[in-house]
């Protein structure tokens, strides 16, 4: 039995620097990269395809400048890619609407994505999409297997593993431990430039659902107090802690 998959791929900034004065992240001139856990999702979709057959399609809500990231996913082994243009900032409500509109018109057995993304960690996309698409959700899988028309997933909880089974179609989010993504060789990179990559327009947002109030780097400012008299130690520390 074959399984068609759609992998959701996010593009994030490669290396965000913090402005030492404002403490705000500075992204001027910073390149984009494939979001880390999206990369595991791509790898898993390619492995499913290699093992069982079927098509693997990459879907990104992003922008045209990020085409190279989709090409990289194609070089890893996806069959085709679609970039929906118009991403401007992290808004899980709008992102899930855009992706839902596209996904409902596509043929798939499985939507695979990272359980969360390495830039915002909202972890909202998988549950939102599963409820909008009205299909089961399996979150945080570390292993995926198939049993005819069912997917069997192993999830890792802190102390133990649980195995769950779900009908297809389903939405699956994966954890980084699920696999080690491959490095694409030259031959696949060359082949990827001939695979279809479509750019589409996003439907307009119905509103803003997510507002960033402040975005600052975490600072730990030390008080740099040295207590020199060991005998008075506890008393002195107590005083300082009390007053701060």
């Amino acid at each position: 039995m074959q399984y068609n998959t759609v992998v959701l791929i996010k593009a994030i900034y490669e290396d965000v620097k913090v402005d030492p004065k404002t403490l705000e992240p500075s992204t001027a001139g910073v390149k984009f990269k494939m979001e880390d856990i999206s990369r595991n999702a791509v790898e898993e979709a390619v492995r499913i395809k290699e093992k069982h057959g079927g098509k693997a399609l990459g879907l990104m809500f992003g922008n045209e400048q990020q085409s190279l990231i989709m090409r990289e996913a194609l070089a890893m082994g996806l069959d085709e890619g679609i970039i929906i243009k118009g991403y401007s900032f992290n808004d899980p409500v709008y992102t899930s609407q855009v992706l839902y509109e596209k996904l409902k018109g596509l043929q798939w057995d499985l939507v695979i994505m990272g359980y969360s993304s390495a830039d915002s960690y909202t972890a909202q996309l998988a549950p939102r999409l599963s409820s909008m698409l009205n299909v089961p959700l399996i979150g945080n899988a570390v292993k995926l297997e198939f049993n005819e028309k069912k997917v069997v997933a192993t999830k890792s909880l802190d102390e133990y593993m649980i195995k769950v089974e779900s009908d297809l179609p389903a939405v699956v989010s994966v954890a980084q431990e699920i696999n080690t993504p491959r490095i694409p060789p030259l031959l696949q990179i060359m082949a990827a430039s001939k695979k279809p990559l479509k750019l589409e327009e996003a439907p307009p947002a119905k509103g803003t659902y997510y507002k960033v109030i402040e975005h600052k780097a975490y600072v730990s400012s030390r008080k740099k107090i040295i207590f020199e008299d060991v005998n008075k130690g506890v008393e002195e520390i107590y005083k300082v802690l009390k007053s701060s």
Partner: protein
Amino acid sequence: MFPFNEVMDFKIEMTDEHELFRKSIREFAESKVRPYVQKVEETNEIPQSIIDGARELGLYGVGVPEKYGGQGGDMRTLAILTEELSRVLPSLGTMVTVNHLFLIPLMIFGTEEQKLKYIPPVAKGEKFAAHANTEPGAGSDVAGIQTRAEKNNNGYIINGRKIFITNSERAQYFILSARTSSPEQGKRWKGITTFIAEKGMPGLEIGQKFKVIGLRGEQPNEVIFNNLYVPDENIVGKVGEGFKVIVTTYDYSRIIIAAQALGIAQGVFELAFNYSIERKAFEKPIIGFEGVAFRISDMLIKLETARLLVYWAAYLADMQKPLFLMASSMAKTYATEVAEELSDMAIKIHGGAGVDSATGVERYLRDSVITTIYEGTNDIQKLTIAKTLLKLASRSVDIG
């Protein structure tokens, strides 16, 4: 604009595929190679896991057409491969690309049968190859080789000794040069023939290993031919015209060496810059002193100039512009000198730590020296440049 024709001669074009490929190699080098660099220095051996990893990623087939079992890719792709590997471990750059000293002559001068027989196993990383030209009495002076090949039935009997032959312990296939007739008066280059030999043929022996100062993990050996019989079908190119086979090989391969030097320069630049912002002296990072800041800026200027020359030469080669001959000599000379100079500057920026082998800076200097020597010393490159200039100016002056 002499010696160039038009501004288009200065163009360098890179593609998305080049960038994706660069990322792949960067990831391979950082994750699979970097952790073993110190071990390679200590043991003088490249671990099997790296040799195998390179095979799995198809690195031995880069620059070889798919038709012959390769991965495709052009000279720029090969330059990227060599630069990225050498940025982390220059001897790995040599190990992975030295096969091209065998593949290039076969691709250009080989028969279809030779190509189909010998290229795919090398491109797939199943077999390694070596190039045996240099001799105790002749390096730069290729026409001065003493190895002799005597006609015998349907082949040749070869006797002689080659030195500094990279990869010869690993190699299954060799391309070698030998004299099939005496040099002609005024045409010393005539009478040399190139042959393919295979390890296991009686009379092909691997001799002593040379202990050269750099490129640890990839030290060359002596190769001895003791009544080695090679059949006629193993002749590469025409009998008596092997000189052309050898020097044409270097026309292309010196771009690979230039890229290796560029990788070294990039590696030491990053080390030096990082150290200059981390290391404090007199209560501030040392880059806060003009003497260090200027050194860092000079390093970057030279690094990027070298980069332009290397990719320019590679692009001209890909476009099959005759100018690439001169450009590749310019790139090889400049990039290798910059690699040496920047390694030295990086050591100075590191102070005492720079000469401690555990810091991993000084090894680049030892490696860079070799890049200025092999595949045509920089003096020889300058001769090529001057000779080409004279030709372009339609002047005849005897140089070299």
